[in-house]
């Protein structure tokens, strides 16, 4: 599914990211994303997470190839969830600057909302970085309100 211009604009904002997969027994794995890169086809996104903090994530993705990432703008709760099939890809040197940029923007946004910096540092680390490549099949609005849970192609103008 191709990400529309509104979503491309959304991804320019400071964001937080939570991610999940599930193993072959159906047990979900949960974690936090600490960076991303949208590919030029606008249908694929690479999401970076810490293999040190979330070791079950990689294992689950390798088992089932199913993955989801929810991105939220902390200042106004605007939230989108991306779902699809995924594979692990090798971490490259260029991934780290993407993560550093993401972490710096998220930290500044959360600090401005009064969240203490030492807490944010517990959540956002790029240690033992892993990258999952998601082919986006579905995008859902998850902003609290009447459109929550709807597919974006249903609610887009």
């Amino acid at each position: 599914m191709r990400l529309d211009d509104r979503l491309m604009d959304f991804f320019q904002r400071p964001l937080m990211c939570i991610i999940a997969s599930a193993d072959r027994t159906g047990q979900p794995a949960a974690g936090r994303g600490v960076g991303f890169e949208l590919l030029d086809d606008r249908e694929t996104i690479d999401v970076i997470f810490s293999g040190w903090q979330w070791p079950r994530m990689e294992q689950s993705i390798r088992e089932t190839g199913k993955f989801t990432a929810t991105f939220v703008s902390p200042s106004d709760y605007v939230t989108f969830q991306l779902k699809g099939s995924a594979t692990m890809r090798g971490t490259e040197a260029s991934d780290i600057p993407h993560a550093d940029h993401f972490i710096a923007a998220a930290t500044a946004a959360l600090c401005s909302l009064g969240v203490p910096p030492h807490m944010i540092a517990s959540w956002l680390t790029v240690r033992d970085a892993r990258v999952v490549r998601l082919s986006v099949r579905e995008v859902y609005v998850q902003t609290p309100g009447p459109l929550a849970g709807m597919l974006t192609d249903v609610v887009s103008p």
Partner: protein
């Protein structure tokens, strides 16, 4: 050592959103934020079923769920593998979550958006601490446990008091001494209207004695109605709850006959603890702090012990005072010298003004009028609670169980406003009127 649910108390305050991951029958995962997780004993948690339809559907199709909980003080994260047990839409657990949801969604300015339909109970299979890149001991202040010896001393101190003023002061002093909290109020509830009136306070620029709030809103009202303690632990992004009346001067008090509620604009944590005696809520102990997460589970439990002891002592005090038998009273001294003391009583709200200054209204105002009429008509200045009950009881059924606290409010307001007359408690169930000059009483609205 693996963490236990009881070790995660700072994760259950709704300060930092939790995360819920589920998977559909076909294995496709779903992940979203979650407003409330409540601990139920050592093996279960309840989730407010505010989440989106997909999460709810997944949970029914596949009971395996993973949660991330976040310690609201340190930021530490915990992974919980849980499995769905059942959904509840009534009962103790549901009511507890509904109250907490109301309090914390009011924190987020979303009180009208968040309405609890049901709560889901999950059994916790495993808890794992997520490694954190920093471990800064300074960031997680290690507060000491509640000192049970000091708590016990305070309970005894409350029990030794015989009048409501001493009981309320001992309670407030205990709050300061045991926990170090600097801002606290005691409000007494009126049975008939449910109105709660401030009878004692510590730490505020203005004492707020006599200020009133309805029991229909806010943390204090919720605690009064439910009989359960309720707290918010991070108000950094929120407006204060709605009881505060925007008044800040004596002039405003005189014109509106409403006393400003004590205000701590920098509060980050607030707790309202009901004062319960045999199932009836007599009042509320309200404490606030500038610290985030100031009220741990054990603090709540210790505050509840103090509040319960105070409620018991207040009820005993009322009963003992009511049994005091009148004895002959000494005659009024010869004419009191000094300037005249001018008292106006307004019938429509029983408000009292002394030399132009608003003092009190309602039951306390009606009682002062009664005392002044006895003084002026019969020439005496010592009165008993018992005769007040007999004389005013038929018109003021509210005083049946709280005459002593109404008289306390009257005494304290007269002192606080520096009025030219005072009510002095001479012994249990007996008080004396003292004035700086001859009293005139004008009744307005007759």
């Amino acid at each position: 050592m693996r963490p236990r649910l009881a070790d995660l108390s700072a994760c259950f305050e709704g300060v930092i959103p939790s995360i819920i991951a589920t998977a559909a029958a076909d294995g496709m995962p779903n992940v979203s934020y979650l407003s409330h997780v409540i601990r139920i004993g050592d093996e279960h948690v309840a989730l407010s079923n505010q989440f989106f339809a997909k999460t709810a559907a997944n949970v029914r199709a596949n009971p395996k769920v993973t949660l991330i909980l976040v310690d609201g003080l340190t930021g530490d994260q915990y992974l919980l593998d849980v499995s769905f047990v059942r959904s509840v839409d009534a009962g103790y657990v549901f009511e507890k979550i509904a109250r907490q949801l109301k309090a914390t969604s009011a924190q987020l300015g979303m009180a009208d958006v968040m309405r609890l339909k049901s709560a889901d109970i999950f059994r916790v299979a495993a808890i794992e601490k997520v490694p954190a890149p920093i471990n800064d001991p300074a960031s997680s202040p290690d507060r000491q446990a509640v000192d049970l010896v000091v708590l016990s001393d305070t309970v005894s101190a409350i029990d030794r008091q015989v009048d409501p003023g001493g009981i309320i002061d001992s309670l407030l002093e205990g709050v300061r001494r045991i926990f170090g909290y600097e801002h606290a109020l005691v409000l007494i509830r009126e049975d008939v209207s449910g109105t709660l009136t401030t009878m004692g306070s510590i730490g505020y620029a203005r004492s707020g004695l006599g200020s009133e709030i309805s029991d229909s809103e806010g943390l204090i009202g919720t605690a009064a109605r439910s009989g359960e303690a309720i707290k918010v632990n991070d108000m950094s992004r929120l407006r204060r709850f709605g009881e505060a009346i925007a008044l800040n001067s004596d002039a405003a008090e005189n014109s509106t006959r409403a006393i400003a509620f004590p205000d701590l604009p920098t509060a980050n944590s607030q707790i309202a603890v009901p004062m319960v005696f045999r199932g009836a809520v007599l009042g509320v102990l309200f404490v606030e702090s500038e610290a985030r997460l100031a009220f741990r589970e054990e603090d709540e439990a210790a505050l509840l012990i103090l509040a319960t002891q105070a409620a018991s002592a207040l009820r005993a005090s009322e009963r003992e005072a009511a049994q005091t038998v009148p004895v002959p009273v000494p005659p009024l001294p010869a004419t009191i010298a000094g300037r005249g003391v001018h008292v106006i009583h307004h019938r429509y709200d029983d408000s009292i003004f002394i030399d132009g200054t608003y003092i009190v209204k309602g039951i306390a105002g009606a009682l002062l009028r009664l005392i002044l009429e006895w003084h002026l008509n019969e020439g005496r200045n010592v009165f008993t609670n018992r005769e007040m009950r007999l004389a005013a009881g038929p018109r003021l059924p509210e005083i049946k169980d709280n005459l002593e606290t109404r008289l306390l409010l009257l005494r304290r307001r007269l002192e606080e406003k520096g009025a030219a007359l005072r009510i002095v408690r001479v012994e249990r169930g007996r008080l004396r009127l003292e004035a700086e000059g001859p009293i005139t009483l004008k009744v307005a609205g007759e």
